[in-house]
């Protein structure tokens, strides 16, 4: 047991080394210095407080999405629709804010309602995927992907239609909300300690949900063997639905954070691809909640660090995406290789 855990860690480190190696080769092939690029990425993310705060801004939605995906993955579901669920969370939050724009209610209450609204919005969007899956027999990957496109289209429609800025609608989004609608930020930085706290609490709750509750155990049973779980007396399709709802709520929460703490309005690319990035994090940590925090932080750092690249080195910032993708591929690859080793060891 211990041995296999140790070898697991060792292989993951090999995967990490391999992916840095591949990215270095790419950089060398275009006559750029890998060491300089990596140094710049590190400086761009951890170099100064302001930049580290930016990393945390990216970390919050990424961690929330990952937390949600851990639930659906445990239930054996590929919730690709998480991206759209983030978007719907943002839309619902914006809707609640707009609804209370003229009200005299205390801002703290409005913010709370807006965030709850975002969670409900995300959950409803996830429920669509779940209903399509459970009652319509539509694979959640296709259902979710389709709904992602609908969600994006809906954002654009709202920004250029009913919620457009007075005068000319623009890609810069809806008109920003008043300052008191924002979650409190740390002075001179863009990070809200509230958002950070909510994200950390969410992942801790998910961790205990999966580790310590009957709910989590049943969810895992459904995910690992649907048929046997049914025969054991677990209401299987209901558990599939619950997992969609929980994941949708957490994704919606991520969307709410984007509106309430970062952009203070609805913008076209409000989810910034955190849904898809969260899928990569969840795969990379092999669906173990305990690794979510460090890996999500690492991915957020890569994202922010690479912003530096076009300015300093005339490299495209998508380099971070390349590194993230390659890393996930290698992690899956070495895990497959490791399983083969273990099997071989058992046979002889």
């Amino acid at each position: 047991m211990l041995k296999s855990r140790f070898s697991g860690l060792l292989f993951q480190l090999i995967a990490l080394a391999l992916s840095f190696g591949v990215v270095s080769l790419i950089l060398i092939s275009i006559d750029a210095s890998p060491s300089e690029a990596f140094r710049n990425m590190f400086k761009g993310s951890f170099g100064e407080m302001r930049k580290f705060a930016e990393v945390l801004v990216a970390f919050v939605p990424l961690l929330l999405v990952t937390a949600g995906l851990l639930v659906t993955f445990s239930a054996g579901l590929w919730n690709i629709g998480v991206e759209g669920q983030v978007v719907l969370g943002a839309i619902a939050t914006t809707w609640v804010y707009r609804y209370f724009l003229e009200s005299d209610l205390p801002p703290a209450l409005i913010i709370t309602l807006a965030i709850l609204g975002g969670m409900i919005g995300g959950a409803i969007w996830a429920a669509f995927t779940g209903i399509l899956k459970v009652f319509g027999g539509v694979n959640e990957i296709f259902g979710g992907l389709g709904l992602n496109f609908v969600a994006t289209a809906l954002t654009i429609y709202l920004i250029f239609g009913p919620w457009k800025r007075p005068g000319v609608a623009s890609m810069s989004g809806t008109i920003p909300f008043p300052d008191e609608f924002s979650l409190p930020l740390i002075e001179n930085l863009r990070i809200s300690p509230w958002a950070l706290g909510i994200a950390l609490i969410a992942i801790i709750i998910v961790f205990f949900l999966l580790q310590g509750t009957y709910f989590g155990l049943k969810l895992k049973a459904v995910g690992k063997n649907f048929r046997a779980a049914y025969l054991l007396g677990i209401p299987t399709w209901q558990y599939s639905m619950y997992s969609f709802l929980i994941c949708g709520a957490l994704a919606g929460l991520a969307g709410a954070m984007q509106v309430a703490a970062v952009y203070h309005r609805l913008i076209p690319s409000i989810s910034s691809g955190y849904g898809y990035l969260g899928l990569m994090v969840a795969m990379l940590i092999n669906y173990q909640a305990i690794w979510a925090i460090p890996v999500a932080l690492f991915f957020a750092a890569l994202n922010i660090g690479s912003i530096q690249l076009p300015i300093v080195m005339k490299l495209d910032s998508s380099l971070s995406g390349v590194l993230q993708g390659v890393l996930v591929l290698f992690a899956l690859l070495v895990e497959g290789a490791r399983q083969k080793f273990i099997k071989k060891g058992q046979n002889t």
Partner: protein, 496 residues
């Protein structure tokens, strides 16, 4: 084509599925292969058709030449084709497209030419198939015909047929046999695998009987059914001591139940199972006993009739409703249906207790697991992932999942593949349950096990169900005949 199998051995892990089988099948014969489930028939046929490879030292000799086949495509190259029990075709495609599949070297098939070939071949064998029709509109028998034509077109000279008469009509069977009887004239060889004694007797020129992986012997016509059954199931009938069950109140009653699936239809079953009673279900795999058992569990809804459990009418109710009344079902496919790979023994025991509440009581779970592991003699720790246990231990774990108390336990092959000690142990555990009033219904392909442990036996054959037979007054031989479809007139089935 002359087929010679020489010293065929095949191990699956520790299981020796084929033991040194040597069999010569002369060109132009129809060779029957008989044997009960697990006797090694399928393994041998899969080796001959290239699906799996035999252990080293085994030899396949075709017309005097030793060959090595690494895939079914290789086998077809050598002229060996297999007709599977479930036709390996593509239902949403056209018949002609299916026909064209697998024809080597034609990237752009000539459909016109193929249609002509198809019609010619169909005419020769008297099949009436429209090449432009879709496969999913065909019956199982017609799909067989299509498959036979495809193999013929590929130049197959040795036909292996695996249980081809299951699920087809009498007329289609007649046609199939007529077709097969034409093959030897063209020096083709037919290998006919079946458990239906009548079919084998009426069709085959020679019969080889396998038992427990070994070739027990070959027979030539005229066949004596008694002799064949003896060879298939073994002579020695060792009945242990059995106490007649002290039956109590009715637990399960079937009132004119009719069941249906894609292959079979079972009509009007009437049965009453009482407390303390053990009912054994005998029959070759797929004869309807699995359907019957799933109906008892509430997993299959009868198309007609009434099911009562402990006096409650459960007709049309869900599996969960059956479970509530105390029915537990242990499926044969342990890792597919019974257990959850990736979860530990403790996790399984916790889940099987139908826990309520929010937080898992790990300490109680651990204690429960330790207790069950000890009392069921499972070799493993509470944290062992279920898939890391050996088959026998997985089986014990499944039994340990049974809730207590229960009114009815349904078991599919409860002791298949287990050593004799485990078998005795498992049955002692089950008998203990019976003693406390639980009824058991179990499926087994081991007739001795059925006679040894059941009070009454139901025999299934192609959707027919026998009257309950008193296990004390039945012999392995009689059961063997019934399973093979003989002697039904004397005992009468439930339709009568």
């Amino acid at each position: 084509m002359n087929v010679e199998l020489k010293n065929i051995n095949k191990h699956f892990g520790k299981v020796h599925a084929n033991k040194d089988i040597t069999l010569n099948i002369p060109s132009g014969t129809i060779q029957g292969i008989l044997g009960e489930n697990g006797a090694g028939k399928s393994t041998l046929m899969k080796i001959l058709s290239g699906f799996i490879q035999a252990d080293s030292g085994s030899q396949i000799i075709l017309d005097g030449k030793s060959v090595v086949m690494n895939s079914p495509a290789d086998a077809i190259q050598y002229g060996i084709g297999m007709l599977h029990q479930d036709p390996l075709d593509f239902p949403p495609m056209k018949i002609l497209d299916n026909f064209l599949l697998g024809i080597p070297g034609s990237f752009f098939p000539n459909r016109k030419e193929a249609t002509q070939d198809f019609n010619l071949l169909a005419k020769e064998y008297g099949f009436s198939l429209d090449p432009e029709n879709y496969v999913d509109s065909l019956t199982v028998g017609e799909r067989q015909q299509l498959e036979i034509m495809r193999l013929l077109f590929l130049g197959v000279r040795v036909f292996i047929l695996d249980e081809p008469t299951t699920g087809i009509s009498a007329a289609q069977k007649e046609k199939l046999f007529t077709t097969l009887k034409k093959f030897p004239e063209q020096a083709m060889t037919v290998i006919f695998v079946s458990h239906k004694l009548e079919d084998v007797e009426s069709l085959c020129d020679r019969v080889a009987v396998l038992r427990a992986g070994q070739l027990v012997g070959t027979l030539n016509p005229p066949y004596q059914t008694k002799k064949i059954v003896e060879m298939m199931f073994g002579k020695e009938i060792t009945l242990g001591e059995r106490k007649p069950a002290n039956v109590g109140e009715p637990v399960l009653s079937f009132d004119n139940i009719s069941l249906e699936d894609a292959r079979l239809r079972i009509k009007n079953i009437n049965l009453e199972v009482r407390e303390h009673e053990v009912i054994g279900l005998a029959g070759m795999e797929g004869s309807g006993q699995d359907l019957f058992m799933r109906a008892c569990a509430g997993l299959v809804r009868p198309v007609g009739g009434k099911i009562q459990l402990k006096g409650q009418d459960l007709s049309g109710k869900s599996y969960h409703a059956f479970k509530q009344v105390g029915v537990n079902f242990l499926p044969a496919a342990r890792l597919e249906e019974g257990l959850i790979p990736g979860l530990s023994l403790t996790d399984h025991f916790i889940l099987a207790e139908q826990p309520r509440g929010i937080f898992i009581d790990r300490i109680a779970g651990q204690r429960l697991a330790e207790e069950r592991i000890q009392s069921f003699n499972i070799r493993g720790t509470p944290l062992s992932p279920i898939e890391s246990l050996s088959g026998g231990n997985q089986q014990r774990a499944e039994l340990a999942l049974l809730q207590n108390p229960l009114s009815l336990i349904l078991l599919e092959h409860p002791t298949r593949g287990l050593d004799i000690e485990s078998v005795i142990y498992i049955w002692s555990k089950l008998k203990e349950r019976c003693h406390h009033g639980t009824s058991i219904i179990f499926i087994s392909s081991d007739l001795e096990e059925i006679l040894q442990y059941s009070d009454r036996v139901l025999v299934f054959f192609s959707g027919k169900v026998s009257q309950p037979l008193d296990a004390n007054k039945t012999s392995v031989e009689e059961l063997g005949q019934l399973i093979g479809g003989k002697g039904w007139a004397e005992i009468g089935d439930t339709h009568a």
